[in-house]
Symmetry: C2
Subunit: 133 residues, 2 copies
DNA sequence: ACGTACTTTAGAATAATTCTATTGTGCGAA
DNA sequence: TTCGCACAATAGAATTATTCTAAAGTACGT
């Protein structure tokens, strides 16, 4: 997995330092994830990657800026980082504070406003909030 | 405006105390608003309503719980309270950190998942992020 | 090997929100 | 009306998440 982590970082214009390689390996292990910065700290630590909070935040931010990670913010200000960057939306289960992907092609949005005059739509995010009974 | 503020509070099962009346008057003045807790502090203060932070947060939370106010959380964890509780979505202008309403009937969402087994959809929120050039 | 610009780091700083413990108040009952 | 009490308001401390700072470390072109 090291090689692809390195390639990812280079592609993103990030110097492949040991911390970044470790974090990338933990994040991009082939399974989609929704993780908080804190989760990443623990995952890294469990994987033997020694890294500081500041670096975790820096790196997550850089990966987002590079489009390799997607930031998802929910009610209450909880911030998740989503390793699935394909077009898709989210379902949030209130009961257990869990976030789930919703395949991008399952939902269609029509009637987006025409903002005209040089304004560009950067993203359209849909969050479906669900409660079990 | 006092009367309707009092009616709103009673309808929500909240005792119409002087702070709540003041906050309700400031919030529900007939104009839709997107305000932060901090904005509310200042609005209240400008209106001569003396109220503490804790009470602002308590009251905003209670009004949300009662369905009189809608909480909108954006990237970066900024929390806005929306006095427009009719079905609608939002556009966020990245350039000036401003939130705008998008009439509920202008956008259609199709293909929402069937979650079956006693799960109910509590809300579907759409956030369109826009950048001007 | 060297120099430098980019990185990492610990810990402090900030910001937003919640908690705590005390004081105050609306309102029904006497 | 006054009383009592459950509910509410308050100041300030505490918590949580994130960013900043300044110093030490490291990748990499030359």
């Amino acid at each position: 997995m090291r090689e692809s982590a390195e390639r990812l970082l280079l592609k993103a214009g990030l110097r492949p330092t040991s911390q970044r390689l470790g974090l990338a390996a933990v994040l991009f292990d082939g399974h989609d994830k929704h993780v908080t910065a804190d989760d990443v700290m623990h995952l890294a630590s469990n994987a033997g990657v020694d890294v500081s909070v500041a670096t975790v935040y820096n790196t997550l931010g850089q990966l987002c800026a590079a489009g390799l990670l997607r930031r998802v913010t929910l009610d209450g200000g909880r911030t998740f980082f989503d390793t699935n960057i394909s077009a898709h939306h989210h379902v949030f289960f209130e009961d257990d504070d869990r976030l789930m992907d919703l395949p991008g092609d399952s939902i269609q949005v029509t009637g987006l406003p025409d903002l005209g005059d040089g304004a560009t739509i950067k993203s359209v995010d849909i969050l479906v909030r669900v409660e079990r009974r």
